[in-house]
Symmetry: C2
């Protein structure tokens, strides 16, 4: 259903296109300031970027109040995307990934050291962008979000291969590693536009719920996605030992838990075939449908969060976005 996706996709992105282009220009400006290989790396990372969903959220969230300074919104949206890119750069080091979005990762081209430092530079540079808004609350929010993301990533790392964790653990983890940034992207756009506190809180909630839905869908796509689209082999999470929502549902089925335990008991080097079989079993069960229902639940929560907001094209686009993140490739 590429046409439907395209249509859903376009609604928000089209609406904020001129402002997203300004974000793109800002990122390019920053990369041009930097000499040598770091500048090249930044340009490469910017060019191989994704949908810019997070800065689009910041921009859209800033359109619910007249007191917006486009320059401040631009700084914040750029910072959000740069922080996101920095976390991806470090993720690729952590997972030793060689491909992202079908392009070679920086990690595949550079040493670990250079890759780590490039991510660090981007964290720092994103913080200087937020500082340039001169908005203390945005600054505090941004710094604490980065701490939450890192903590979430670390929890994920330390929970690899642990099937004794409960589902609450999973929700806490995806909240920290994904929903927190969606939430901050939306909240910061609203607060920089000096929107009333109720609007700020509604958009923060929307961002959080949207991020939860988004990550659950990502975790489903890891089972059923087109490798060319998701840019990594099917079952990657399970292969790395990351227990995601479909696996939790599968373990609740009769005999499911025993099967997962058996696979995780196989030494890592012999596990690949067993993982393939387990992936097929999970796909054959209704675990993915259960996870999808949960993603829909969060998408609906996101839409509900918008109910108190002024009616405008941005509210409409955010509403559609919530169903798009579910429908995108499922």
């Amino acid at each position: 259903m590429p046409i439907k996706e395209e249509k859903l996709h376009i609604e928000l992105i089209d609406l904020v296109q001129p402002e997203l282009e300004a974000v793109e220009r800002k990122m390019n400006e920053i990369s041009i300031e930097v000499r040598g290989p770091l500048g090249d790396a930044l340009r490469y990372l910017i060019q191989s970027g994704g949908k810019r969903l997070r800065p689009a959220l910041t921009i859209a969230a800033s359109h619910f109040n007249a007191h917006r300074d486009p320059n401040e919104i631009n700084l914040m949206a750029t910072a959000i995307e740069m922080l996101h890119t920095a976390t991806l750069v470090h993720d690729d080091v952590i997972d030793q990934s060689l491909l992202r979005r079908g392009n070679p990762t920086l990690n595949a081209k550079w040493s670990v050291g250079a890759t780590v430092l490039t991510g660090d530079f981007m964290f720092a540079r994103s913080a200087t962008l937020v500082a340039a808004t001169h908005n203390m609350r945005a600054m505090e929010l941004f710094a604490s979000t980065l701490a939450i993301i890192c903590n979430g990533e670390l929890e994920q790392l330390f929970q690899l291969g642990q099937i004794d964790q409960d589902k609450e653990n999973y929700y806490r983890r995806i909240d920290a590693k994904t929903a927190s940034l969606f939430s901050t992207a939306a909240e910061s756009g609203a607060l920089l536009s000096e929107a009333p506190e109720s609007v700020i809180q509604a958009l923060k909630q929307y961002g959080h719920d949207l991020g939860m839905a988004f990550q659950i869908v990502d975790d489903i796509l890891d089972f059923v996605g087109d490798e060319k689209v998701i840019g990594k082999p099917v079952g990657s999470d399970l292969r790395q030992g990351t227990v995601t929502l479909p696996v939790f549902y599968f373990m609740q089925h009769s005999g499911g838990r025993k099967q997962v335990e058996a696979v995780f008991a196989v030494p890592l080097r012999d596990r690949s075939q067993h993982i393939d079989a387990l992936v097929e079993q999970i796909k054959a069960s209704d675990a993915l449908a259960q996870a999808k229902a949960e993603a829909w639940r969060f998408a609906h929560l996101a839409q509900q969060a918008l109910l108190g907001l002024p009616q405008n094209a941005y509210r409409q686009a955010l509403e559609s976005l919530a169903s798009f993140v579910i429908d995108r490739h499922l």
Copy 2:
């Protein structure tokens, strides 16, 4: 001359001891907030910490004006030390170091991924500490310093094995990777105490010059230091291909450049013996004395920067510190 060192050392550290202890408590509080292995890692890193020279600078620099809020200074000094520790954690990943200050690095105990994320968390957490001062200028200064440090580290990485760079390159690099944080440590203490701009600028200049002297001495100690004290084998920089000030001076001597070129032309795996011989030649030349003279020049500049400041015990201690950083192990 351990007695002399001890005496010089004690002067600044003694003076700010109660406030340094508060920094230590703050760091411990932060580590206790964090559950699981990350909390353990933070406690380990805090316990194996160094002299706390940078937070001592922040504290001392805040004592030139009456308008100081001890809590703000504590937040900033803790942030400075935490940022410094984070850069060391990432440095150890980059250099693949297994020991620091005689203790196993986090890198030696954990995966690269966990180590990178721990550094990231500390960057983020240090930024939240600065944000808690609610001082916009401190926040901007802090974020831009982090960007400068990362950029400096990256330049160093890309200049490995390059002997065609000029001395200006070396100065720019140590300014970015070391002097910038000394400078920010001092500047931020002064600005948070709402000192007059001339005092802020003087302390910023002092921090910069002190940091330059400190790094040049570090680079000399890499040739002559006691392995047990500096915690790494003699000639480490040269072994990694980092060209430091003593090497620049050695290359200016008759035939020096040719000798360095010859060693760098040897494939890395066969280079070790040649490096040992080169280290001995550099020690036998007057390159180290020339570098030390340059360190003294910066130490004197640091002392001169203090001349306009109010006379007090802190000014006296900072003055002594400038000669201590030269005398510490030479």
